[in-house]
Each structure stands twice: as C-alpha cells, then as structure tokens.
C-alpha cells in the first residue's frame, strides 16, 4: 500500500491556544480520507498546515515519502473552505488562469463537463450561486489533474440537491484514482464518501480507522431509541444513554428482543420506539460530546 500523504506530529501554537496538538496521520493512495471534528477542533488548521499555506510550529509533512515541496504544489489540488476569487473575472478566465500556473494541466473541456460549468463559462465570478461557486472552486482544484485533492468542508451552505450533486462529483474523482482528503462536519457526507476517517477534538486525533471498523469497535449491536416522555419510571438496571436535548433515550444492544422485553414495562407507548444501526453521527457525538461548543 502506497502512502500518498503523511503528517508527523504536527503542532500549531497560537498565542494562548494550542490549535493542533501533535497530529499524525497517513493517507493511503487512492482513498477518500475524512477528517471530522466539531467546530474549533483544529481540522482546518491541520489541513492548512498539510497544504503548506499555514506554517506549523513543529512537525513535518511528507508527500509520497518526500518532504512536501515543489512536487506537492504541482500535484495537489485544493478547495478551501472560504476562497474569494477575483472580481470582474469570468468562470472561463478563472479556470484558465489557475490552469496556467501548473505544469500539468487538465483538459479544459473535460474539466468543464466534469464540473457542469458549460453554461456558466462567461459569467462573472460574483454572479454565481452557492452551488455553482462550489463547482467552480472544485474545477480550480482540479485544473492540474491532481493526484491528491483537499476538500475543506466543500458542501457547507449548499442545498440538498447541490450536496448530492457534489458527492457524485467527488465519487467520480476518486474513481479516477485521485486521493482525497475531505474535512467535513456532515456525518452523512463522511459515511457516503470516506473510506477512512479520523475524528479530531481539541487539536488531537481521538479516533482513526474505517467507518465500519470504528462503528464496530464503539457499538456492539443495534440502537433502540425511545422518547423520554414515554417512560413511566426510571430504567435502573438497563444500560442506557439519555440525550436530553433530543428528548430521547438510547439503548445499545446485541439482542433486540430481550432488550425490548426489558424496556416494555417502563414505556407507555411502544409505537414510538425506533431500532436502527449506529452511524457516524452517533460515534461522533459519543466521542466529542453532545453539548454545544463555544
């Protein structure tokens, strides 16, 4: 297995804040790697250190075994979380300008087709909708036929249709053999797109692996969900988690029938009970906490 990208013990100290605290990760070639974490966890800083746009306080980044440098800049494609483009410049001119900055260039027509920008080529950058703008920024990230692509919260603010469309695009890029490093706080997005994830909190990676592997490690069975309001008495003797802000109680079990039998004397309305597979959102909330971050 070839490692496309490796970060070793990255640290970033801002005055009074250790934003990134010894992050190490490695991304095998050809996968979509998700970096997840709540707001302020340090994922954008980590990714920007890896991208080379923010200097690290310490640590090193390797690209195909070499310290990331000129080759990395030529072969990496980056879509930042917030990027302003030049005013008064059209979509066509923006793509052409960024293409010219690289030695290796994507075919212009293929790129336009891939990102569905055909009808927007002569439109001023300022007059694009959120989804159109994200597609343009993705096209800019792909102008050099990148071997490694960084997507930093690419679907934030998009409507459901635009998000699905964007996922299809990302999947087609991965199918083309590129390695993707995706940061997101949408767990459904990570579940659909990522082969491997790392969950960050307080500047550290607290869990890393494939979504299936992490879910198996964390949850032994299915989740039974029932509204707190339907409880007739307390659930002493039954292991459970109370999610007060959602108004539900969760019970993780390997034997659903037995658990339901245990629960039924304490519940007034069995029709409201839900049984489901644990997902990345459960894992994320369990690892990073349910309370609102400042």
């Amino acid at each position: 297995m070839t490692i496309a990208l490796e970060a070793r013990n990255l640290k970033k100290q801002y005055p009074g804040v250790l934003a990134v605290d010894g992050v190490s990760l490695s991304v095998p070639e050809g996968i979509c790697f998700g970096l997840l974490g709540p707001n302020g966890a340090g994922k954008t800083t980590t990714v920007e250190i890896i991208e080379g746009v923010t200097p690290a306080t310490s640590g090193q980044v390797f690209y195909y075994g070499e310290v990331a440098g000129r080759k990395f800049r030529q072969e990496a494609g980056i879509q930042f979380q917030n990027t302003a483009l030049q005013d008064f410049i059209t979509v066509r001119e923006t793509i052409e300008m960024f293409r010219t900055l690289y030695d290796r260039q994507a075919d212009f027509d293929e790129l336009i087709e891939q990102c569905s920008l055909g009808d927007l080529l002569d439109r001023d950058n300022r007059k694009l909708s959120g989804g159109q703008r994200q597609r343009l920024l993705l096209a800019v990230a792909l102008v050099n036929r990148p071997r490694l692509i960084f997507l930093d919260e690419p679907t934030t603010g998009l409507d459901p249709q635009a998000r699905r469309n964007f996922w299809d695009l990302v999947q087609s890029i991965r199918a083309g053999g590129s390695t993707i490093l995706l940061t997101t706080h949408y767990m459904d997005e990570a579940q659909v797109l990522c082969d491997e994830i790392a969950i960050m909190d307080a500047g550290k990676i607290i869990k890393q692996g494939s979504p299936e592997q992490l879910l198996q490690e964390q949850y032994d069975g299915l989740i039974i969900e029932l509204p707190i309001s339907d409880l007739t008495d307390d659930l002493s003797g039954i292991e459970h988690t109370i999610l007060e802000n959602l108004g539900i109680i969760e019970v993780v079990t390997t034997d659903v029938s037995a658990s339901l039998q245990q629960l039924s004397p304490h519940v007034s309305n069995l029709n409201q009970i839900k049984i489901r597979q644990p997902n990345l959102e459960d894992l994320f909330l369990d690892l990073t906490g349910h309370s609102l971050r400042a």
């Binding site: 800049r73 302003a84 410049i89 010219t100 690289y102």
Partner: protein, 340 residues
Amino acid sequence: MLKRIYAIFQARNREFLRDRASLSWNLILPVALMFGLSFAFSNERDAYTVGVLQEAAEINTNDHAFLRTDFIRFVPYDDFELAMRKVSRHQLDLLVEFGDTTRYWINAESSKGYFAEIALLHSGSDTVLSIDKQQITGDAVSYADWLLPGILGMNMMFSCLFGVGYVVVRYRKNGFLKRLRATPLTSFEFIAAQVASRMVLILLITSFIYTGTHMLLDTRMEGSYFTLFLVAVVGAISLVSLGLVVSARVTSEELAGGLLNMINWPMMMLSGVWFSLEGAPAAVTTAASIFPLTHVLDSARSVMLDGATLSEVAPSLLALTAMSAVFLAIGAKVFRWGQY
C-alpha cells in the same frame, strides 16, 4: 515562470479595466483637476489685483494711464464696503477711485499693496529714469504647464500606492492570496506580476491623460518624450514598490488605508504637486528629497519645462532606482500570503 507571471498580470489587468468605476475615477479625476485648476488660475500672469470703484460694469482703460498697466488685473466694484472688505483680507491689493481727485485705499500689511501703490503713483508720471533697460523675450510658463507634471505624478502616486497596496491587502484578507499560495506560484512571481500590471496600466493612463491635456491646453514640452517616458517608468516602479512595502504584511484594509495616507499626504504636500518648494527652509527640501514623488516631479518638470536631457535627470533616476531596490527587497523579505 514567465507564463505564471503573465497569467496573474493578465487577470489583474482585466480586473482593473473592467471595474469601470475605478477606471473612470483614474481617468476623470486628473483631467478634471487639470482643467479646473487651469481655468481657475488662468489669470496667473497678473501679479496684482486692483479694484476700481466705479458705476460702470466694464473697465475703460482710457480713464487713466494706471488702467493700462501690464500685469495688473483690474476689477470693477460699485459696492465700496465689499471692496474694502476685500482689501482688508488681501483679496484686493489696492482699491482706487478715479475722478477729479484720485483716491485709493491700501492695506498697510500687504506687500503687494505697497508695490501696487508705487505703480499707481508712477503711472501718470513722465519721469524718465536714467537706467539702462534690456529686454528678453519668452513665453510664460503657465500654471497649467507647471501643474501638469504635478497632477500626473499625483495620479500616479495614488494609483500605484492604492492600486497595489490596497489590492494586495484585500486579496490577503479575502483569502485569494492563500488560494494562490496553494499553487506553484512564488511570491516573486506574484509581486512581479503586480508590479508589471500596475506599471502598464499607469503608463497607459498617464499617457492618455498627458496626451489629452497637452492637446487641449497646449502645455509646454521642451524635452524629449523618451526621457519623460523613462522618468514615468522609473517613477512608477518606485511608487509601486513603496505600495508593496506597505501591503507586504498588513491584513486590514483600514490599517492599509491609514498607512497609505500617512505616506500620501506628506508626499503630496512636500513633493511639489501643487506649489514649488523653491525658497523653502533647507530642512523641508531635504525632507522632501526622501520621497520618490519629489524626484519624479523634479525630473518631469525639468524635461517638460526646461528641456532637460537624460544625463541631467540621471541623478534623480538613480535615486528612484535605488529607492525601488530597497522597497522591493523589504517587500519581498516581509511579504506574507496569509493572515497567520
């Protein structure tokens, strides 16, 4: 490397040329200033202004020999109090009323009033002074002639400092610089593209304004256009480089605006945009020589008004080149792509 510089250069040119508001401002302001000030100071050749207290709306030069005196502008007044107020404020150098007895009023604190009085008292005299008078001829340098290099230089200064300094800070603040940082583009390539773009644009605009005003106001041009162009090129490089120093690290447009104004205003006041520093204290002229605009304007005026050759303006061009080298070295050294 060149294709990357050209890509950024081209994009910046497009951005500027399509921003019609900025472009219009760059063209209209200097032209409007030039025409407005030329019109306002079109009587600059008149050294004195004398009010004539009379009923008639027009001055009749046959009324008195004094009214035929050269270099005095005579303005009729029928309101004595208004005219006296103007005398007291030095807006009139002298007020005169001709009649059976000629009466006049001057401000005792006005030096120009003193000389206007002498002219009045001698105007009717047939005294022949035993002095040897020799005359030379030559067209007067009009205020428009003198002002044109100043207006062009001022426009160049604003355009270079704000057009580069402010824009780079905006790029940094909105993340466009960070996006470029993630490409193979180097800081040298980016800076070179910005300098080249602003150079070409400012030279085009300056040439356009110069040609227009020169044709319409028939301004003086004694020297060679090539030398003048060279002065503009070297001057623009130094001013763009100064803009880059300001913008190298700053992340706030407000701070950049403040810093740029801190540089603009002393240059505008001390570099000779509006008035000559001839006769100013040595400390002021020495201080003015540290500004690139001073050298640009001195050289341009020498070429346009006195026909100075390249070798004569070479010291100023060398000073500007040295300043550019220092500014660019500092700018490149402290340049930052992001806000980190």
